[in-house]
């Protein structure tokens, strides 16, 4: 029956399939890495989340069922407190970081899209920090924001202003981490916006200019609508990247003050690597993944609706 359907509906496809293994060879390199570094770890993570799993104690790995998940939802446990506090911290960072990461990148992209001398140099300069590792970027900003002997406080002192405990207080610690993150990652969003800007036909702007639209009106009535799909993409990946914040607080604040910058990935790191509770860490990761999927779906829904209306 199936054969008949195939024969009847798609002889061309069948012929194409027969024509060889070549298409599969093309996707083979990616498949290997996808299977080895994404698919396999994901399913293995699902598997170990059902165990009390210490990678250094293969002889002690009791099956605990959904206990690792239940702990996170039982208000009397230490895990409940740790997990939801880190989640709330991560949420705070999302609020602090996503808007500037998108808006500043968009403005930068518009500026870098103009026609002037040295444009390529500026494009390179703004993208350059993104090439650094998180460690280098974080240590640089740690040296700037340090309470004692930090560059920023040094200059504040010279100017005669009071010094600020940038990394030891709230919300200064979030502000510091956000600034470091913007400096480090803004190049990526900017480059994507820049590519999208260049796709917008110049004839639209010319027509608008003839109709007497100001540059601001052009920006809101041409640029933004034309870039809607790219905006959704950038907002979504920025949210995911911000939700995965780890290196900056690990190096700059060690999760402090009083665990306020201990993000969910930081928590997962402490549970899995620090305490050898890989099963629990895997369960927390999967819960985070589910939440991020949900967030992404909401994103597309919200932006999709405005497009239709």
């Amino acid at each position: 029956m199936q054969d008949q359907v195939v024969q009847a509906t798609a002889p061309a496809v069948k012929k194409h399939r027969k024509s060889g293994i070549v298409p599969y060879l093309f996707i083979l390199p990616h498949s290997i890495f996808f299977l080895a570094f994404l698919a396999y770890p994901f399913f293995y993570g699902l598997y170990i989340s059902l165990f009390q799993f210490d990678y250094l104690r293969p002889e002690h790995r009791p099956f605990v069922g959904f206990n690792n998940y239940l702990q996170v939802f039982t208000p009397t446990t230490v895990q409940y407190r740790d997990f939801w506090r880190s989640m709330s911290n991560t949420g705070q960072f999302l609020l602090w970081s996503v808007i500037p990461l998108v808006i500043v990148a968009l403005l930068l992209a518009v500026l870098l899209n103009g026609k002037y001398r040295g444009r390529n140099m500026f494009r390179m300069i703004y993208f350059a920090p993104y090439a650094l590792s998180v460690t280098v970027a974080s240590i640089l900003w740690l040296w700037i924001f340090q309470r004692e002997g930090g560059l920023l406080n040094h200059y504040l002192e010279i100017v005669g202003l009071p010094t600020i405990n940038w990394l030891g207080r709230m919300p200064e610690a979030w502000i510091s981490i956000t600034i470091a993150t913007i400096w480090w990652t803004i190049g990526f969003n900017t480059v994507i916006f820049l590519a999208a800007l260049q796709e917008i036909p110049t004839s639209l702007y010319e027509a608008a200019a003839i109709d007497g639209a100001s540059p601001v009106q052009q920006f809101f009535n041409i640029t933004i609508p034309m870039m809607r799909s790219v905006l959704i993409f950038v907002i979504t990946i920025t949210m995911i990247a911000s939700a995965n914040l780890f290196g900056q607080p690990y190096i700059m604040t060690a999760g402090g003050p009083v665990q306020r910058t201990e993000t969910i990935i930081y928590r997962i790191f402490i549970e899995g690597i620090g305490r050898g509770q890989m099963g629990r860490a895997a369960a927390m990761s999967i819960l985070l993944a589910i939440m991020l999927l949900f967030l992404t779906a909401v994103n597309f829904k919200v932006f999709g609706q405005t497009e239709r209306s």
Binding site: I21, L25, L28, L56, A254, V258
Partner: protein, 452 residues
């Protein structure tokens, strides 16, 4: 033909992947095999080894090159590397020791254990011994490999320092030093306030409070108290001085929510609010405040000695006794084996024996030598004057019992309460401590079940 080739390509790629995986697996196995062969190749006489006297290394150690990892990333690490080089040159067995210091050394050790790339041995913080023994990173020190250290070696150490290397009735580590909190003071500020410098005995409560008052009256900030690590160790010292403790002696019950705990924190907060510059956060800002002359007294770990000793105004004294009895938070660097290979173990033990005998030189790195015979050596004052000045600390050192993952279970919960209380976020201290202790207890019970 073309089809055959195109079909072959993925197979070839797969094959090459499998082969390369095998090759790397083989590479890691090769050294162990080679090492295992050496002793038999040299035909060591089994009769000499067990009867070897102290200081005579097991001949299996002959010609071994071993690596020692450590968390000693400061100037103390350079000192350790110098000692390792000296031993490598001096020993007659051709043993070569390489010292590798790294931050996050525990994480690195665990990763190395998972990947099968552990060094021969490591410097391990006493607090980590139990968990690393459970997690198969540290290997037991059998009485056989310990013969090189000499008979009855344990009696040359304070009981607590020796016992902390024991876990579940088995020896896992050998004490190198102890690091108790030191009271750093500013000689110039003391002089300006018309005060005598502290002596080798810990200050009494009266002496301490008198000094704070006089320093304050002289117009300087008397003491630098921050949060995080410093506050947590002050708390651990004072709670014992006031008659309490973090846990019961077995390390199975969290007891820091006692009246002594509340009293200790109230005392620290009062000092901090009235007499300290406003500092908080990680990275030891209180040490920087002292170095920059912003406070006259600063209590912190001895690892700051090698840096602070360069300052002209630096003075060193033991931790004061503010409560009913002397007690001071302390840790200990211990030496542990991370290899099962008998030849590597023999070489490591040979080096450990030498290092322990030369631990007076280790005092230069700002650590109090663990051995009683070295601590009471009159030469210590010449070699390391600051250490000699704070040596009384060693008699009152308090450490947690050797229970796997105990420190994390306690600090993770009381640490935020200590910081929160000092910075004014926690107002109902007793309730906060009760809740924290309950959470510590939960983790301790869970650990007990995990590592039973």
């Amino acid at each position: 033909m073309k089809k055959i080739i195109s079909n072959l390509v993925p197979v070839l790629i797969l094959l090459s992947l499998i082969l390369s995986a095998c090759a790397s697996g083989g590479a890691t196995q090769a050294p162990t095999q080679a090492a295992a062969e050496t002793p038999t190749g040299q035909a060591t006489s089994p009769t000499t080894a067990p009867e070897a006297a102290a200081g005579t290394c097991n001949s299996k150690a002959q010609g071994q090159s071993i690596e020692m990892w450590s968390p000693l990333t400061g100037p103390d690490g350079d000192e350790m590397s110098t000692l390792a080089d000296r031993f490598s040159k001096e020993n007659t067995y051709g043993i070569k020791v390489t010292h590798v210091a790294q931050p996050d050394y525990i994480t690195k050790l665990e990763a190395a254990a998972a990947a099968g790339g552990l060094p021969a041995m490591t410097v391990v913080r006493a607090i980590n011994v139990g968990q690393e023994a459970e997690r198969n990173v540290l290997k037991p020190m059998t009485s056989e490999v310990m013969t090189v250290l000499g008979t009855n070696i344990g009696s040359d150490f304070p009981d607590q320092l020796w016992k902390v290397g024991e876990y579940k009735g088995q020896h896992y580590s050998f004490p190198l030093d102890t690091h108790a909190l030191v009271m750093y003071y500013n000689k110039d500020m003391f002089k300006a306030a018309g005060m005598a410098e502290p002596g080798p005995e810990p200050w009494t409560k009266t002496q301490f409070e008198d000094a704070i008052a006089k320093l304050s009256a002289s117009g300087v900030k008397p003491i630098a108290i921050g949060t995080a690590f410093q506050a947590a160790t002050l708390f651990q010292s004072l709670i014992v001085q006031f008659g309490g403790s973090l846990t019961n002696p077995e390390g199975t019950k969290a007891t820091y929510n006692s009246d002594a705990g509340v009293k200790a924190l109230e005392y620290i907060k009062n000092l901090r609010d009235k007499y300290s510059p406003d500092i908080s956060g990680a990275g030891d800002p209180e040490a920087n405040a002292y170095k920059q002359g912003q406070a006259a007294i600063m209590i912190h770990g001895p690892w700051h000695i090698s840096d602070i000793v360069k300052l002209s105004f630096a003075g060193f004294a033991p931790f004061p006794t503010i409560g009913d009895k002397p007690a001071v938070w302390a840790g200990s660097h211990q030496l542990g084996l991370t290899s099962d290979d008998p030849a590597k173990q023999a070489a490591a033990m040979c080096w450990i024996a030498w290092l322990s005998q030369h631990s007076i030189d280790w005092a230069k790195a700002g650590q109090i030598p663990a051995r009683t015979s070295v601590r009471t050596d009159p030469k210590l004052a010449e070699v390391a004057a600051p250490i000699a000045a704070v040596i009384k600390n060693a008699d009152h050192a308090i450490m947690l019992p050797q229970v796997a993952a105990l420190e994390g279970a306690l600090w993770d919960q009381f640490g935020p309460v200590v910081d929160g209380y000092l910075t004014g976020e926690v107002t109902n201290l007793k309730t906060a401590l009760d809740e924290a202790a309950a959470r510590s207890q939960q983790t301790m019970d869970e650990n007990a079940a995990t590592y039973k």
